[in-house]
């Protein structure tokens, strides 16, 4: 990660200060954090649901790309970088040399 921007190998997860939950009143997933909140559209909610600290950005994009039958790499990167900047998402940085698989 450089200058707070994610790479495809990083494994994002929600920050401990943030919480995603379903809001029955607005029938939307919301992201709650200190004295603020974001009402999430379907794509954003789907992306964040996969941010478990295990999946890499590339894996998240691949999974959603298959689900929506279109490339979502840019959507995923844009959203996650915005949330990293707001410190709502953190990434386990994975150094390229240590990456074991053949991606």
């Amino acid at each position: 990660m450089s200058a707070n921007e994610l790479t495809l190998a990083d494994r994002p997860r929600l920050s401990a200060r943030a919480r995603m939950q379903y809001d029955a009143v607005r029938e939307k997933q919301v992201l709650l954090f200190p004295e603020g909140l974001l009402v999430l559209n379907e794509t954003a909610a789907a992306i964040l649901a996969l941010c478990d600290g295990q999946r890499s950005v590339a894996e998240i994009a691949a999974e959603l790309g298959a689900r929506y039958s279109r490339p979502v790499d840019q959507d995923v990167m844009n959203l996650l970088n915005r949330l990293v900047q707001k410190r709502l998402v953190e990434a386990q940085v994975v150094e390229p040399m240590a990456h074991a698989d053949d991606r």
Binding site: A16, R17, P34, E35, L37, Q85, R87
Partner: protein, 388 residues
């Protein structure tokens, strides 16, 4: 289709160990002694969730003065709120903080009055600084996110760089550099609190540089004083739109100062459901939408951006709650604000504060800027005052 609220400001009590002269609480503090019980708060919180509230701000006065605070927090957590404690932290010991964490509290916001103990304690009217610092460290050690709230005014605004250093030293996640807003005790003390234009210009580059430098590490929120702005603030995100305020005695208001506007009944959760109050009460509907607006707001392209500013401020400064907020340079009554700014002196030594106090005598003081005929007409809360 009326908006669903996102945030509830729960003023649990008006008791407080501090005496800050910029407090936004009403001056008749002693009239709110008949506090909602835990059972009543439990019911109200459930109603608030059903209404759509997600962010709960536990405040006051000093919320730690409630012995049942951990129970309120636990209930809030059970109901699915994101809970924020807005506190002076005077009695926020590590044990108390741990208890609140276990109860499910999500975020802690601590106020600090200045960058050094001497000035901080002088503004707060009591020794507090050292305990605030200790509380901030305890809060971080427990893994809470920490917001530091600095209310800015003439006497501490020059310390902005040191306030930011202190925030970094304490590991704050968020910092609010909030210029005083003039309601309640702050309005009463306005003449000794208002910063000079020179002070604001001096700190502007310091604040901007810090925001850039800390981006991605610490969120810095800077609230510029609206008296010096060209346009008014979009108060509360609109009347009865995103937020509501609940007072210790169960009065429900669209904002902290709305009780000052006469002509409409103040509703109370002891008599009405929160849903009815939000959706149907005359109070909450009074300034919803755009139909109530006068010119120049009515024809202004900014009307959906700032809603004509603050209704309470319009009333307090002009006598008409439907008027354009006179901080707006387009307001025909803008001279009211311009005159206040003109009269601001460099008298830094002048700290002749009326300190926040529960004493009834202080509550009878009229508010500057209010037309004389209205000054003696301070509105009483909806409930009968407690018998002493």
């Amino acid at each position: 289709m009326i908006d669903r609220p996102y945030g509830l400001l729960a003023e649990l009590t008006y008791r407080c160990p501090l005496h800050c002269p910029y407090c936004s609480n009403p001056m008749n503090l002693a009239d709110f002694g008949d506090e909602l019980s835990l059972e009543e708060w439990t019911r109200v919180l459930a109603e608030a969730r059903e209404l759509g509230v997600l962010q709960l701000h536990l405040s006051g006065g000093e919320p730690l003065q409630r012995r049942d605070l951990a129970d309120i927090v636990a209930e809030a957590h059970r109901l699915g709120f994101y809970s924020n404690l807005i506190t002076s932290a005077l009695s926020l010991t590590p044990e108390k903080a741990r208890q609140l964490k276990e109860a499910g509290l999500d975020n802690v916001q601590i106020s600090i009055q200045a960058a050094d103990a001497d000035l901080s304690d002088r503004i707060a009217g009591t020794r507090a600084y050292d305990r605030k610092i200790a509380a901030a460290r305890a809060v971080k050690a427990l893994g809470f996110p920490l917001t530091l709230n600095y209310v800015l005014h003439r006497h501490n605004i020059d310390q902005v760089a040191r306030l930011l250093e202190l925030a970094e030293d304490l590991g704050a996640d968020r910092v609010e550099l909030a210029n005083t807003q003039y309601y309640g005790w702050a309005l009463h003390n306005r003449a000794v609190l208002m910063p000079t234009r020179a002070q604001l210009e001096r700190i502007e580059p310091v604040v901007r540089a810090a925001i850039d430098r800390l981006a991605g590490r610490m969120q810095v929120l800077y609230v510029f004083p609206d008296y010096y702005s060209q346009y008014p603030k979009p108060c509360m995100g609109g009347w009865g739109s995103r937020q509501l305020t609940l007072r210790p005695n169960g009065d429900v208001l669209p904002c902290q100062a709305a009780d000052q506007i006469p002509g409409v009944a103040i509703e109370n959760v002891r008599r009405r459901s929160l849903a009815w109050i939000w959706d149907d009460s005359p109070m909450f509907n009074r300034f919803r939408g755009l139909d109530w607006m006068q010119e120049p707001c009515r024809s202004c392209p900014r009307k959906t951006i700032d809603f004509g500013g603050c209704r309470c401020q319009a009333f307090l400064l002009t006598g008409d709650p439907a008027a354009t907020d006179p901080v707006c340079h387009l307001s025909p009554r803008h001279a009211v604000v311009a005159d206040v700014i003109e009269a601001v002196t460099d008298a830094e030594a002048d700290t002749d504060f009326a300190y926040r106090s529960l004493q009834r005598e202080a509550a009878n003081v009229g508010q500057p800027g209010m037309p004389a005929t209205l000054a003696s007409n301070m509105r009483q809360p909806s409930a009968a005052p407690p018998s002493d």
